[in-house]
């Protein structure tokens, strides 16, 4: 059963290595989890899973493997819940003295026997079994000086299966939306692949010069290493069906501009035509033709949009959605010009990828650009594609 857990984790997509699996066994042989499933849950997670985005998958695998298991935690929990509704027990002095005679060993033995006999369920009062408000040697809120107290007070510890069932890390899963911080992480891949940094370098010539001038006393001259950064252009769909994503898009922008030194952004509505807007209200614009002519072709271009429109908006002259807008070149031609100009170009789509096949225009645009989901995973893949020209999908 135990090795099953390993393969379950693998099949849920948690990257677990042999190295870590063996470490877990070492921890188990040292009994670091203290025979408790809850502690095992946390321990195994800390050893096997190294990123919180996999915690949810870990929970699922854990549930699959250990759901049916009965543990001591669970039994304790059951006893506790039976002990909840209690009234204080009043005893005479005589009775108290009588009970003080029992010693701890005897009490513990008795406790075990009772457990085996299964006497602990819903027992109230009485002198023998575990229960509430009674005078027996086990239980809470009762009176017996030699008694065993079973975890009085409410416990903050939940048992492992319950914790896993709660799936509180679902939001950390990488296949759902991004917040600014996560986006920064993903976008920083763009940066991380280039050699940047303010590393200091010895300027040899200047040093020799300065040392000579100093009559031989050594004078070192340092200079900053040149900073190389990527150039990124974001072109984003605003308005219409993209309105619900405007905020998300705004975050992408704020994340991007703090990560990348040469950063340009433009807006369009549904499809790119002869003009691109520089503000989100679409008041100021630049000519797309000029842009394609004047910008360097080593920009990494990211188009963001749901690619969901009427096919005519892509293929017709004057097909633009705004009726006052005249375009003498169909949108799809403009998109192809973009692709031909910039080698590194991708399209990010906030719609889930399973829906892409059902929209004709999404299929058409996918024929032009490699398309990725606007999720952490998708962004990661997309950035990988931009940097290296290949990835798992394309």
């Amino acid at each position: 059963m135990f090795i099953d857990f390993f393969f379950r984790l693998k099949s849920y997509g948690v990257p677990v290595s042999m190295h870590e699996w063996i470490t877990l066994h070492r921890a188990l042989s040292l009994n670091l989890n203290d025979c408790s499933l809850t502690r095992f849950y946390h321990m195994a997670r800390s050893i096997l899973v190294k990123n919180e985005i996999f915690f949810d998958k870990y929970d699922l695998a854990f549930l699959d493997t250990f759901k049916e298991i009965e543990t001591t935690d669970e039994m304790l929990e059951e006893i506790l819940s039976g002990l909840k509704k209690v009234k204080e027990l009043l005893l005479t002095e005589e009775e108290k003295r009588e009970m003080e005679k029992l010693d701890l060993d005897e009490v513990l033995r008795n406790f075990e026997e009772q457990l085996k006999a299964g006497h602990y369920k819903g027992h109230v009062g009485g002198n023998k079994a575990i229960g509430t408000g009674g005078r027996s040697t086990q239980g809470a809120w009762g009176y017996n000086p030699a008694g065993v107290r079973i975890g009085q007070g409410t416990s903050r510890h939940r048992r492992a299966v319950q914790i896993a069932e709660k799936r509180s890390f679902r939001n950390y899963s990488s296949d759902i939306t991004l917040d600014t911080r996560q986006m920064k992480v993903a976008l920083s891949h763009l940066r991380s692949l280039l050699p940047i940094g303010l590393g200091e370098r010895l300027n040899l010539e200047e040093t020799v010069d300065a040392t000579c001038k100093n009559a031989g006393e050594i004078e070192l001259v340092w200079e900053n290493r040149e900073k190389k950064a990527s150039k990124v252009m974001l072109v984003m769909d605003v308005g219409g069906s993209m309105t619900p994503y405007a905020e998300l898009a705004g975050r992408l922008f704020s994340a991007a501009s703090s990560q990348i030194s040469k950063f340009k952004h433009f807006y369009f509505h549904n499809c790119v035509y002869q003009e691109l807007w520089t503000d989100i209200e679409r008041n100021k614009s630049v000519s797309t033709r000029e842009l394609l002519k004047s910008e360097d072709n080593d920009y990494k271009v990211i188009l963001v949009g749901d690619a969901e429109m009427a096919p005519s908006e892509l293929t017709w002259v004057n097909g633009a959605i705004d009726y006052w807008y005249r375009n003498d070149t169909p949108g799809i031609v403009w998109l192809e010009r973009f692709r031909d100009k910039f080698k590194n170009i991708i399209w990010l789509n906030p719609l889930p990828s399973r829906s892409w096949e059902y929209v004709q225009t999404v299929r058409m645009i996918r024929g032009i650009f490699p398309m990725f989901e606007l999720t952490l995973d998708g962004l990661d893949e997309g950035v990988k594609y931009l940097m290296s020209g290949r990835c798992a999908l394309y």
């Binding site: 290595s17 040292l30 190294k50 992480v185 590393g199 905020e247 889930p352 829906s355």
Partner: protein, 284 residues
Amino acid sequence: MNYFKGSEDYVLSPALRDNVNVSIALERPLIVKGEPGTGKTLLAHSIAAGLRKRLIVWNIKSTTKAHDGLHLYDTVQRLNDARFGDGDVSDIKRYIRLGTLGEAFKSEEQVVLLIDEIDKAELEFPNDLLNELDEMSFYIPETGETIKAKHRPIVIITSNSEKELPDPFLRRCIFHYIEFPDTELMEEIVHVHHPKMEKGLLREALKRFYWIREFDMLRKKPSTSELIDWLQALVVGGIPVKAIEKEIPFIGVLLKKKEDIDCVEKSGKSHYAFNTSMRTRDVY
């Protein structure tokens, strides 16, 4: 055997306590991740205090190289000494200085080593430390000396996930993600910092605090350290409980971006208009 139970001025969850002990027992570095302001750095201080050990801190910056932590060969000083003839230049050892990691290895008793914000450094940084952290030893080529740890230090590494850490490095570590504390745990944490805080005020303030955190749209959610500052401000300002129910005094302590403050102030009583989830638009 070292067993960490926690220390008085730091509230920790049982899961984190267990993970600290697992990492001590297995002699593996513990990587701590979590939202900013959840007490990652303080954990190391608490471990050092709880186990009564010396804490050595290595603060990582974007320019830090793995080599800096091991040893430094001061060639310029040596050149200078050779030029002007003061000091014994033939003894290279005089010009070797140990870095933070070297200091931790050389220590006579076991120490707690905190490598703070490892993700600030360049991508290759953790990989360069792989062997040193595995073997707990390194070699100084200039003197032919090998520095080996007499007692393996307890290593705590914090990360803000600015960069992903390389897999081979992660494989050798124990990982803990500090979840944002729930109300109960938060009350305990606040109690450590403000033991005399009035119950009613605290409850109301916490209610407001978690209410603010529920906004999806916030660019920077307020964290524990901001909450504690805010409570301090409330106490000092002598704000009555009723005032918190109506409005949020000193909101600037909690939220640091103008957009966030606007968002919360415009929202009125509910999140409704501001939390419409954007990804759940399942049209098909």
